[in-house]
Assembly symmetry: C2
Homo-oligomer: 229 residues x 2
């Protein structure tokens, strides 16, 4: 019982953030080109270090904000990575978070400043350290999470068409979905509001816009309803 406080080794605690966005067709992640050592010039996740006065969720918020300018974003802790030589400079444990953002809302200037760029998952470059494995885990968690909880909406603008929603799920799940079955399923859950407004950008007829009804979902959930795609 004596490997207690005093005898222990403190470590640097880093955070890395997998930022997901969806640009009409594809799921993307936001990566930065490092302009600092180590691995200067290579692509990586945005990261930072935990500060004394914050917990991990707060640190993740701060790090996400410094790159995107966004606040109140969906962020979830993923996993902690601890391979001894994962960071060549110093022993560092990294806690990975993933974020879901509306890609239309990020701050372009900040992104340029960081040399950051959106990459579709399939075209992303190899990343430094263990960041590739973090991304792999994040995608797998995203698949699970979006099919069990209505968090996919975080990746869309507040008003969206059924087509957009379907494309989003297709790109997360990496499979084609049947249009009628998809719409029937979503409608059966009765958690969207159909607006009187149409998106006219994709067809002459236009397609109706919908909104996710957070309150209705909360009430249904309290009554035992389960979201499922």
């Amino acid at each position: 019982m004596l490997d207690e406080y005093s005898a222990s080794d403190k470590v640097l605690l880093a955070l890395d953030c997998i930022i997901f966005g969806f640009d009409k067709e594809e799921l993307k992640i936001l990566l930065i080109k490092r302009d600092f050592e180590p691995e200067k010039g290579k692509w990586s996740l945005i990261g930072g270090f935990l500060k004394k006065e914050e917990n991990l969720d707060e640190a993740a918020d701060r790090i996400l904000n410094k790159l995107t300018g966004l606040k109140n974003v969906y962020l979830e802790q993923l996993h902690s990575y601890s391979k001894i030589d994962r960071d060549p400079v110093e022993r560092t444990i990294s806690v990975a978070y993933y974020a879901l953002i509306n890609i239309e809302e990020h701050n372009e200037k900040l992104i340029d400043q960081y040399g950051a760029k959106w990459f579709s998952i399939s075209e992303a470059p190899g990343l430094i350290f263990d960041h590739d494995i973090m991304v792999k885990h994040a995608i797998s968690r995203l698949r699970y999470k979006t099919s069990k909880e209505p968090v996919g909406f975080e990746l869309l603008p507040p008003k969206f068409t059924m087509k957009q929603l379907q494309k989003l799920y297709e790109s997360i799940l990496c499979e084609k979905l049947d249009k009628r079955n998809f719409i029937n399923k979503i409608n059966a859950m009765d958690i969207l509001v159909k607006l009187d407004e149409k998106d006219m950008s994709s067809s002459r007829k236009g397609s109706f816009l919908y909104q996710f009804d957070h309150d209705k979902y909360k009430r249904k959930k309290a009554d035992g309803f389960d979201f499922k795609v």
Copy 2:
């Protein structure tokens, strides 16, 4: 970009381990009565600190081993907890792991030495720090995991009856299952070996013993098969 390595604050990295066992009827967790400060005399999870020469998985193995004497145990990282004042002595981040062990195999002497005791989930005492929330998360993860992967067998002896397996799932899922449906489902997956041996302890007729066939499962999984309870 300059909140880099040098400016950062190192922290103590702890690990806490939720150890699950199953004693014929009930899911249990192994807790220790602390004989050291802070919170001496109170119940808590077994824990320890990360050392320089090990990664988190190795540290969790070591900590599990010091209490149970067991090696090669099913261990999975759960979540990292970081509330600023979660540990009153010093800023500490804790990474929680959960373990599934065959309750018959742990080392009684070690357990006595640590003042440790098995508690059924419903009768466990309140725990120190944020350990109660860790246990809650662990149970919820265990439910998910055991219904998607054949890890429940880790909680049973190598040879078990269908009844035992059903009781195990009932106690993890907190619901009664239909005997015929359960057995039909398990048999349909075709991942158990029925032995010529019976357990005679529970009835005159005796009930056949089964073993989980790891290799067969691996082969089926590679062919796209999914375990599901």
